[in-house]
């Protein structure tokens, strides 16, 4: 766990270590799509050394997703499997990855879940959630919110917020007081105007994408 950021709910976007998953057909070793290949290899070796007896003889697929591996890297993985007495079955990969730019955006499930955080999110804290995020409390400068869906702050939003982090351009950011350092919705970024606003309290406001730009307006209900 990184010491400099407190992750309140488990982040769904990135697993940063190799994971074994068990299926009927055998084991699947999941290597994260991003991050240094070398690191995961070393990690895998250590894991296997510690649990050699446990996995011995097991059928193993290696899931690499969109990661692009060179032949040497593939050979290295196969060698690790062989050395540990595992019965290597093959790679599972997202074929689109080989043709680079064919990447299609991830489908957005309209029935995404929502979590509620009942506390002030302070500088250096980061809340990441694969769904909608509701904060009951303030979000202070230096704090960061990331959600796949909408972000709603029942308090002041003075940190950074990223809604629709997986590409949902309809995501919104709503706060009782919207005074963020920076707002991101899907791939669009905007920052607060440099000069001081004439008044601090505008009442509830909503930020959303309109014509490719983030606009902020009074929240009407």
């Amino acid at each position: 766990m990184p010491s400099n950021s407190e992750i309140i709910k488990k982040p769904v976007f990135d697993h940063d270590s190799v994971v074994f998953k068990g299926y009927k057909s055998g084991l699947t070793l999941v290597i994260p799509e991003n991050g240094p290949f070398k690191k995961y290899c070393d990690e895998l070796k250590t894991n296997l050394e510690q649990s050699q007896e446990f996995f011995k003889g097991a059928k193993v697929f290696i899931k690499i997703g969109k990661r692009i591996l060179h032949d040497e890297e593939r050979a290295e993985l196969e060698l690790i499997m062989k050395d540990s007495g595992l019965n290597f079955q093959g790679f599972q990969e997202t074929v689109a990855a080989r043709g680079a730019s064919q990447e299609k955006p991830e489908e957005i499930d309209p029935f995404i879940s929502t979590i509620t955080v009942r506390k002030t999110v302070r500088s250096g804290q980061r809340v990441v959630f694969d769904g909608n995020l509701v904060i009951i409390g303030d979000v202070n400068p230096g704090a960061e919110l990331v959600a796949a869906g909408d972000i709603i702050v029942l308090g002041r939003l003075r940190g950074t917020a990223h809604a629709g982090a997986k590409g949902d351009i309809t995501a919104q950011i709503i706060a009782f007081q919207l005074q963020p350092v920076q707002i991101r919705i899907a791939g669009v970024i905007t920052r607060a105007p440099e000069q001081d606003p004439e008044s601090d309290d505008h009442g509830p406001e909503v930020a959303r994408i309109k014509d490719g730009f983030i606009i902020v307006e009074r929240y009407t209900y």
Partner: protein, 264 residues
């Protein structure tokens, strides 16, 4: 007897942690509380200097945790107060010479014999901070009324929460009423607005602090010092007394007063 272990921390450097620690410790001792100050800033020790006890150091915190000396041997008795002690940091070692578990053990040992254990935390959020907060059950956050110090204090409060130290209390140090009045400095409300934790003291910026720090005589002993008075109030609040916050509008000239009324 189970004493309180309070860490004095800030995140940002130079906001007055050590000064606060020395003054609160001395203030508690004046009230007859048996108090020990631990300087957790291994490698950059200062508390001994501010307390005027530098020349008495033989053993230090690292010697104690490494068990090369007895705890009793490393505690330096204050030159003014019978019931005030200092456990100095090592100057020639680094932060990783001490581990959090060792601090927990040390604090548990000290709280048996003392009413208060005050830990002077180093700046930053790395090893030194982790050591300093490990054994503490309460925290006092020191900040100055400027944006960066408040930001760092906010970070610290978050980190303390994740370490189960709830309800830290805030000291706002070096407030300059003159600047606050002109709107050039954040006032107590502005700071409170962001940090939203209970306030235990507001200390005015005071030249006498610099003099007392250099002399090694904490300002809390000087009855003429405004900052000293603020620290005495904090000590009283630590002891559970209700003390009103002192007015910082002490230098208002008649002209300013009129201007103020017109403004209102």
């Amino acid at each position: 007897m189970a004493g309180k272990v309070i860490v004095i921390t800030s995140g940002k450097g130079g906001v007055g942690k050590t000064t606060t620690c020395a003054n609160l410790g001395t203030g508690l001792a004046i009230r007859g509380k048996k108090t020990v100050l631990i300087d957790a800033d291994v490698g950059l020790r200062n508390l001994d200097v501010v307390m005027g006890l530098e020349n008495r150091i033989v053993f230090d915190l690292v010697n104690v945790v490494e068990k090369t000396c007895k705890l009793r041997q490393a505690l330096i008795k204050d030159k003014r107060f019978e019931n005030l002690f200092l456990l100095p940091a090592a100057q020639t070692k680094e932060k990783d010479a001490v581990k959090p578990e060792q601090m927990v053990e040390l604090c548990a040992e000290l709280r048996k014999d003392f009413d208060y254990v005050l830990i002077d935390c180093p700046a930053g959020i790395e090893q030194g901070f982790k050591n300093a907060v490990a054994g503490a059950d309460q925290a006092i956050i020191v900040t100055t009324p400027d944006v960066s110090a408040v930001r760092d204090a906010d970070r610290i409060i978050g980190l303390l929460q994740s370490r189960e130290i709830q309800n830290p209390r805030l000291v706002i140090n070096r407030v300059r009423p003159e600047m606050v009045r002109k709107g050039d400095m954040m006032d107590v409300n502005d700071v409170n607005d962001i940090l939203a934790i209970s306030l235990i003291g507001v200390v005015p910026d005071d030249e006498s602090i610099i003099i007392s720090t250099n002399k090694g005589d904490p300002a809390v002993m000087d009855s003429g010092s405004k900052a000293g008075e603020a620290f005495r109030n904090i000590v009283a609040r630590l002891e559970g007394e209700e003390v009103p916050f002192m007015s910082l509008d002490y230098d208002l000239g008649i002209f300013d007063k009129i201007k103020r009324i017109i403004k209102m």
